[in-house]
Amino acid sequence: MGTGIYGIGVSALNTAQAGLVTTEHNIANANTDGYHRQQIVQGTQVPLFSGVGFFGQGVTVDNVKRIYSQYLDHQVRQTDTQSNQLNTYHTQMQQIDNMLADSTAGLSPALQDFFQGVNDVASNPSSIPSRQSMISGGQALVARFSALNDRLSQLRDGVNTQITSMVSEINSYAQQIAEMNHQIVLAESSAGNFKANDLHDKREQLVGELNKLIKANVVTQGDGSFNVFIGNGQALVVGQSATTLATKPSTEDPANLDVYYQIGNSQVPIKSDLLAGGQLGGLLAFRSQSLNSAQNELGRIAIAVGQTFNDQHRLGTDLNGTLGKDFFTVAQPKISPRSTNTGTGAVTVGITDVRALTTSDYRLTSDGGANYTLTRLSDNAVLINNGTLPQTVDGLTINASGVPVAGDSFLIQPTVDGARDLKVAITSTEAVAAAAPMATATAAANTGTGAIDLGAVNSFNDKVTVTFTSPTTFDVVDNTNGATLASNMTYTAGNNIDYNGWRVQINGAPNTGDTFTVDNTVSTAGAGNGGTGTIAAAVPIPPAVQFSPDPNIASPVTVTFNNPPTTFNVTGTTTGSPTVNVAYTAGAPISFNGWTVKISGVPSAGDVFTVGSNSGGVADNRNALLLAGLQTKNTMVASSSGTATTSYLGAYGQMVSDVGNKTRELQVTSEAQTTLVAQVKQEQQSLSGVNLDEEAANLLRYQQAYQAAGKMIQVATKMFDTLLSLGS
């Protein structure tokens, strides 16, 4: 019995001590990240049988248990990786949002200042200071575009830098997890069923940190080690070995860094959209969903401003009386052959219709022969399905040359450099084309009341319809101003058809009623055509290399009214028909040589109206007025019917609204996610966290247990002393 008493007392002392140690461990680690509180599990010792039954043999510590719920810890990691992705995306997005926030520094004041200069020229067409203010306004606008684009490029560079540092952090965590696997296996191999609690905490803490960077899935192995997978199943950690990730420029777009995964000796890129979750996922999503489109949207506005302004500017004449040149230099689409291409194929892309431009990038893939497939990356729509080139799609004319190998692909970014590469091409104030190239006049000897208006230049961007009135004749109508350019022209297959500054040829056998249109210099055959007629692409009339007004626009043309003055004859024309006995309708458009005039009133027989060169027309502001009108004209974002739906600033407002909405959305979702994380963490902490009050109580509990056990030994000693004194 004696040993029993001592034995029980000692076991109680030991157990209380273990309890105290565990409580102290909890108190000490109350603020340690990833720490789960521990408890001792105590139980009775194996009882001793005697004749009268089983006597208890005291207490023993069965286990030191970690208060841990795999479910809750998993939830914390899941919500946390999501929250980190949203937060990172939001933080990046806020930078664009803030850049657009300042109403005095954005695009809008620069655009308005530029058009103020244009209006100045319209008010004072021959004033050199006004012309200078227009050019300076243009330079300021270009600088603003460039500054905004620089900021976006900096963000892209920042994303690349952060991706690099995150990938190296991920590698480091992977190493550490592999190391912990090793330690845990080592520690537990000789420990039976006991867990190395603190090592587990540490490993789970590492997995948690990894999840903040990228979403990682954990599969526990039989030996207690963790296998960690990222993306769509790429193993980052397997047992005690970790794989290394790397960053390298994307094979498709060298401006972006991609994450590569090491398999054996080769590195395979992981698709960006597979790397979801965590800060890395947030960065990649920001880059692919928002940064690219913001830069493209800005570029598209710059291209639209440059292109539409140039087109109008080329329709005018400058102070020296020569036709206007390009006012801006406009960016060309960026074409990046995939770095893994093996063929010699090359692709050229030109912008033919600025209205139809989208903000998307495109991928052109070769089948190794003459056929290509074009995919629009914003919605993955296949625009050319294994077809031949050249083709015009979304305002782009795409052509290919060289010998590609099947699978070779090209990334086409039509607008990405738009804002960066917009430049002012004109330096001399004289070169501003404020005047129109032709002028109208009423002969002084006219006796009727007929009056001719100031006239207008037909733009090469006007929509013009060629309608076959029979298989051998056709009419040409300018749909933009309603003028008949020619009627009853004889059709000869392959002959040049020149109007408004462009040239096309029609081949084959069109049926009566077949139509062909040239709209914004893009020629198309009518959808309902029954004949076999085909139309060639519109080109500038040689020797012009750029679309410009009709080459004969300034040639002298005379309109003479016949007797009776219900018809008139026209002489001096190169394009346009008929020229003899043309029926007169007051106010109807009359179009020849690329201009349109209107005669109204009642002309008398023999009355003469002339249209000719506008030489010396330094005070003419007709073209400047049209240039100024571009500010509010709808020139961008074509509807399905091909009509432009918004102005420059409208498109910019759309961009601001897109960025604002996305930022707002991210702000709301990331706040919600943060709340969710807090809730889940609270639940997890509620189970596994250390409560110091509770530990204080436990301290008292185990202290008292220890004191009680001590008392037990004292009692046993006294009993022993009693026995000893009996003998003395």
Binding site: T442, A444, V618, V656, V659, Q682, V690, L692, A696
Partner: protein, 511 residues
């Protein structure tokens, strides 16, 4: 529920962070006065603010353009006002020149003054604007619009500009003309009554004076008068006793002489000679020699269209003045439709001052009416003609130059007097036309300036509206923000206080 100690701290800190950032946002809003600090704060309002601010800026631009248009038009208007003053002076001079007591010298003085007015007007028409561009040269702003070349005593003014008119955008859908080409202001002004112009033939020997005429029905003139180029041709046939018979006749070819004479003569012929007897005063003069047909009988102003036999004698008394209207293109009479008779009376009899109607004509169809009326007074001589043509553009400068030239021509007889009177009539008509034309341009400028001023006031209203809209979209409601600031401050203080109190609670305090 079990709460871990770190949760207690974490959640308190998170709450305090939230409160602080909300407080910071209100502070930023208050400092900037803007409700929307970044587009994300209210994406819809931010995008809308862009649109409204563009509209507002464009509207400001229109206001600027309106000012520029107003000043251009104001300059033009002031030049035209002085042009009109000069024309008034020219008009008074023309009226003055008709004073019958003036002799050639007096008229010469007036002509000199007119020439100086002429130069004044050329100067006014060549005015430049503030930028050194000519006001009235159309698009050719750097080209001198009006140049004068002397040609045979008259000064011809050429217009070197074009017919361009500068427009300015003063509202989103309104472009207004801010200039007028010199041709439409100074030179393209119809002469005569605006529909047709009547003028005496250069060789007229009679004293007929033609007025500007009336247009009774412009549509008939436009539709029926196909050539619009006619001559009212006169024939003044004396009564001859005995009747010479056949196509022989005596015409009065010098009405000035005839009208001042006794109008009753007997002409007696010898061989190659004749004598004239004034039957009223019984005075015989002559003999006078002649060859061929005896024309311009001395002191009578009559012509014989045949050679009378020697010894014959004819008594001449007033006969009939008749006229025909001849289409100068076809050469036919429009009254009869046929070629005018070589001798004998024309189809209509002339009475001084009675309207010559271009009606009841045979061309183009029977009973045609040209819808116009001419009036001739005085005595046209036989063979005199007056042209009636569609009005053409004459212009201010030619009118004045013609008038000055007419005044410089000496008046020696009644025929010259009639010529002068015709020239004065024509000049007065045309000066009135010129003044009307300038007035019309000025009225049009006035109307344009009025339109600009109404655009200005609606533009200013719009500015206010845009500002109100913009302010509503992006400006801060200070009262609300300040009250929010106070509330947020209380919240933060409460959170801080609660934290310190909770953090102070620990069982260890009692051990």
């Amino acid at each position: 529920m079990r709460i871990s100690t770190s949760t207690l701290y974490d959640s308190s800190v998170a709450t305090i962070n939230d409160q602080t950032s909300a407080l910071l946002k209100i502070q930023q809003q208050l400092a900037s006065g803007r409700r929307i600090l970044a587009p994300a704060d209210d994406p819809v309002a931010a995008a809308r603010a862009f649109e409204v601010s563009q509209s507002s800026k464009v509207n400001d631009q229109y206001l600027t353009n309106q000012k520029a248009a107003n000043s251009s038009l104001g300059l033009e208007e002031s030049v035209l006002a002085s042009v009109q003053n000069t024309l008034q002076a020219v008009h008074s001079l023309a009226v003055d020149a008709g004073n019958p007591t003036y002799d050639n010298t007096n008229r010469g003085y007036i002509a000199t003054e007119l020439r100086s007015k002429f130069n004044e007007l050329v100067g006014q028409a060549n005015t430049t604007d503030g930028a050194g561009l000519y006001l009235f040269s159309g698009y050719k702003g750097a080209t001198l619009p009006f140049t004068v070349t002397a040609s045979g005593g008259s000064n011809i003014v050429n217009y070197n500009g074009d017919q361009g008119q500068r427009l300015m955008q003063i509202a989103s859908s309104r472009q207004i003309a801010v200039s007028d080409a010199g041709s439409s202001v100074f030179t393209n002004i119809k002469d005569g009554n605006g529909t047709f112009t009547a003028a005496p033939g250069a060789a007229n020997a009679g004293t007929g004076i033609i007025g500007p005429g009336n247009v009774l029905d412009p549509s008939k003139w436009a539709a029926n008068a196909t050539s619009k180029d006619y001559t009212i041709q006169f024939r003044n046939i004396a009564t001859v006793v005995p009747s010479p018979g056949g196509t022989n006749e005596v015409t009065i070819t010098d009405t000035a002489t005839w009208e001042n004479s006794a109008k009753n003569f007997t002409v007696t012929f010898g061989v190659g000679t004749y004598t004239v007897t004034d039957n009223v005063h019984s005075i015989t003069s002559g003999p006078f020699s002649y060859t061929g047909n005896p024309t311009n009988i001395s002191g009578v102003g009559a012509s014989f269209n045949w050679a009378p036999a020697a010894g014959s004698s004819y008594t001449i008394t007033p006969g009939t003045t008749s006229y025909d209207i001849i289409d100068n293109v076809s050469g036919n009479s429009v009254i009869t439709g046929a070629a005018p008779p070589a001798t004998g009376n024309y189809p209509r009899t002339y009475t001084s001052g009675q309207a010559i109607d271009f009606s009841n004509l045979a061309v183009p169809v029977a009973n045609s009416d040209y819808g116009i009326q001419a009036t001739i007074t005085g005595s046209p001589a036989s063979g005199d003609g007056f042209t009636v043509k569609a009005s053409t553009n004459e212009g201010i400068f030619k009118t004045i130059d013609d008038l000055a030239s007419a005044l410089e021509a000496p008046v020696n007889n009644d025929a010259d007097g009639a010529k002068l009177q015709n020239a004065l009539n024509k000049a007065l008509t045309n000066i009135n036309n010129d003044m009307d034309s300038i007035s019309t341009v000025r009225a049009s400028i006035g109307a344009r300036m009025k339109e600009i001023s109404s655009s200005q006031s609606s533009g200013q209203d719009l500015t206010l509206q845009y500002q109100t809209t913009l302010s509503g979209l992006q400006d801060l409601d200070y009262a609300k923000a300040v009250s929010q600031l106070t509330q947020q401050k209380v919240n933060l203080e409460a959170a801080q206080k609660a934290f310190t109190q909770i953090a102070g609670l620990s069982l260890f305090n009692y051990m």
